[in-house]
């Protein structure tokens, strides 16, 4: 977790320093949509704020995703316009960062189970489409379709797996689950 945050911070520092030399314009993209995968379709929102210059946009993103376990991806986002004219553009999206768990497993009457989640890596790539409300303005409607993976680790400890006292052969068990979630995301958003 700490390693991921440190690496992300270093990357952000490098990119910011790079953009700082060329005075980019501040831009904010916000999306809402669905994460779709094996578990079904779940809501997600995210925002990316950063600097844009020419066909490039680089920013820091944060989201809230309800796929499998509620989680908060924190990531660095880079987009590049591929085909563009005055009012619309097709752009490539590449996100990378860390996925933070924001989920507490509910307790169950007959299981003395403790569960703790750990963060894992997060990446996502895909295409977006921008349609500006006016040729001169910066406000635009955004559509995106991306594929990505995020990983969360859960440690489950079951205490007292014993139907009766005084004691059991095995009084507790700890199991580790690694979840790699593979999802498509579709989103609609706005750019300011």
């Amino acid at each position: 977790m700490t390693k991921h945050i440190l690496m992300g911070s270093l990357f952000v520092l490098c990119v910011t320093a790079c953009f700082g030399q060329h005075a980019g314009r501040f831009r904010s993209d916000s999306y809402g949509g669905l994460s779709i995968g094996q578990m079904g379709s779940y809501g997600q929102v995210q925002t990316v704020n950063g600097l844009t210059r020419g066909p490039w946009f680089v920013g820091l993103g944060a989201g809230l995703d309800y796929y499998r376990f509620r989680n908060v991806p924190l990531f660095l986002s880079a987009t590049r316009d591929l085909l563009a004219n005055q009012r619309s553009a097709l752009f490539l999206i590449l996100d990378g960062g860390v996925d933070l768990p924001l989920y507490k497993r509910p307790s169950q009457a007959y299981l003395d189970l403790t569960s703790s989640f750990r963060a894992g890596p997060y990446w996502r790539t895909g295409l977006g489409y921008r349609w500006r409300f006016s040729e001169a303005g910066h406000r635009a409607l955004l559509f995106s379709a991306t594929y990505g993976e995020s990983r969360l680790t859960e440690r489950q400890t079951t205490n007292g797996r014993c139907y009766d006292y005084p004691a059991c052969t095995i009084t507790s068990e700890t199991d580790t689950f690694d979840y790699t979630n593979r999802t498509m995301q579709v989103g609609v958003g706005v750019e300011f």
Binding site: Q38, M39, S41, A84, N85, A89, D112, L113, N159, C162
Partner: protein
């Protein structure tokens, strides 16, 4: 140009979107768990080496049982420590009976009855340092038969393993909880009120009880086995009867058996000792519930949570003058009660972080006299002014000659194993 870009872009995005159905995407879930691989030993080898090392480490204590000046302490699934308790202030481990799978103990005269997984052994303990197996009743407790007729599990090898887990669709729920529900038949033998002076005394959380010429065993949570032991060299299963649901403990009193279950107390008559018959039951909320009784009242502790279920943590005192018409007399709140014992007017209850001592001369008005700070105590035996407390940390003894001033006599500590 504008339309061209717009249409192609929308087309690509829509095409990507068209791929978005869950069947195309598979999550990956890996589970890392600890696996225990059994180590098997031939039964003949095990039985020929029953006299083990007296210095065997006390690591996972189970049932406690006292007979004459000895304490018999079950080492869960490993055997029985024999402790000379002639001086309760200085108990001495004098022998260890190497019995894999052992959880239950009952003693009649010089014969110790002990389970070895599904088999029942009759052991001559005239000389506890050199005991002899005099008979074996195979498959007396079929629930604990793991399919090895010629071999026994004598150890476990621990191994961490990672496997892929098939994930299901739909919202997250509590699932894939690893491992099996390892049902451990509770340990302590009962027999406290046996009419035969030659039997020993056990705690309240028993699954085995000696009454007269018969040994009554809970082979699994829904039935009761009767084993004739009048001739211990010829053990014989007399009957197996359905006894109720989720039965945990067995306590004999006045030619009756009280079977404590998670749902209540089942009462059986021993008028025909070959085949006990049901004569009544008392139902309570779902909870773990050891039971003891005297001539007029039955004392039941209800413990909730974990695998016990339910929400009650209390002591129920039941009217038991007529065991065919058991009814609630009074309820007292508790923290997390488990085993209990009674000696005269004194009632001892393991209750979470301590063992509570009550004056029970008037069951409608219990008076707490003291609380002994013993964390994880699960059963007690109170006899001859010496209180024996089995807990997760060891075996403690107290002198309660003066109930208002209970004195610690000794402590045998448990070395926690890594399993």
């Amino acid at each position: 140009m504008r339309n061209k870009i717009g249409l192609s872009a929308i087309g690509i995005v829509v095409a990507l979107g068209g791929l978005l159905f869950p069947g195309c995407l598979k999550d990956k879930v890996k589970k890392t768990y600890t696996m225990y691989i059994p180590v098997y030993t031939k039964k003949t080898t095990v039985m020929s080496s029953i006299n083990g090392d007296p210095g065997h480490t006390l690591a996972k204590a189970g049932q406690i049982y006292i007979k004459d000046s000895y304490i018999y302490l079950n080492e869960l699934n490993a055997g029985i420590h024999v402790i000379d308790n002639s001086d309760p202030a200085h108990p001495v481990q004098v022998a260890f009976l190497n019995i894999p799978g052992n959880q239950n103990i009952g003693i009649r005269g010089n014969i110790l009855f002990a389970d070895m997984y599904s088999d029942l052994l009759a052991i001559d303990i005239s000389n506890v340092r050199q005991v002899k197996i005099i008979d074996t009743l195979q498959n007396a407790i079929p629930y604990r038969n793991f399919g090895q007729n010629e071999t026994l599990i004598t150890g476990w090898i621990k191994k961490d393993t990672t496997v892929d887990v098939e994930t299901r669709t739909g919202p997250p729920i509590l699932y894939d909880i690893p491992g099996t529900n390892y049902y451990t038949l509770s340990a302590n033998a009962a027999a406290a009120a046996s009419s035969l002076a030659s039997t020993g005394t056990a705690g309240s959380t028993a699954t085995m009880a000696l009454v007269g010429d018969y040994l009554y065993v809970i082979p699994e949570p829904h039935s009761l086995n009767t084993i004739k032991v009048s001739d211990p060299s010829k053990l014989a299963l007399s009957s197996t009867i359905p006894a109720g649901y989720d039965i945990e403990t067995i306590f004999p009193i006045r030619n009756r058996l009280l079977l404590g279950s998670k749902e209540g107390v089942y009462i059986f008559s021993l008028d025909n000792p070959d085949k006990p018959s049901s004569i009544g039951q008392f139902t309570h909320g779902r909870a773990c519930d050891p039971v003891v009784a005297d001539q007029n009242y039955a004392y039941v502790t209800l413990r909730s949570g974990t695998t016990c279920g339910g929400t009650a943590n209390e002591l129920d005192i039941l009217n038991a003058q007529d065991l065919t018409q058991v009814s609630m007399f009074k309820t007292y709140p508790m923290n997390s009660p488990s085993g209990l014992g009674k000696d005269g007017s004194l009632l001892f209850i393991c209750d979470g972080v301590d063992v509570k001592v009550f004056d029970a001369s008037d069951p409608s008005n219990l008076k707490q006299l003291s609380a002994l700070p013993i964390t994880g105590a699960y059963d007690v035996i109170a006899s001859n002014h010496v209180l024996l407390v089995a807990s997760a940390t060891g075996l403690d003894q107290y002198d309660y000659s003066d109930p208002s001033h209970i004195v610690s006599l000794s402590h045998l500590s448990i070395t926690q194993s890594q399993q």
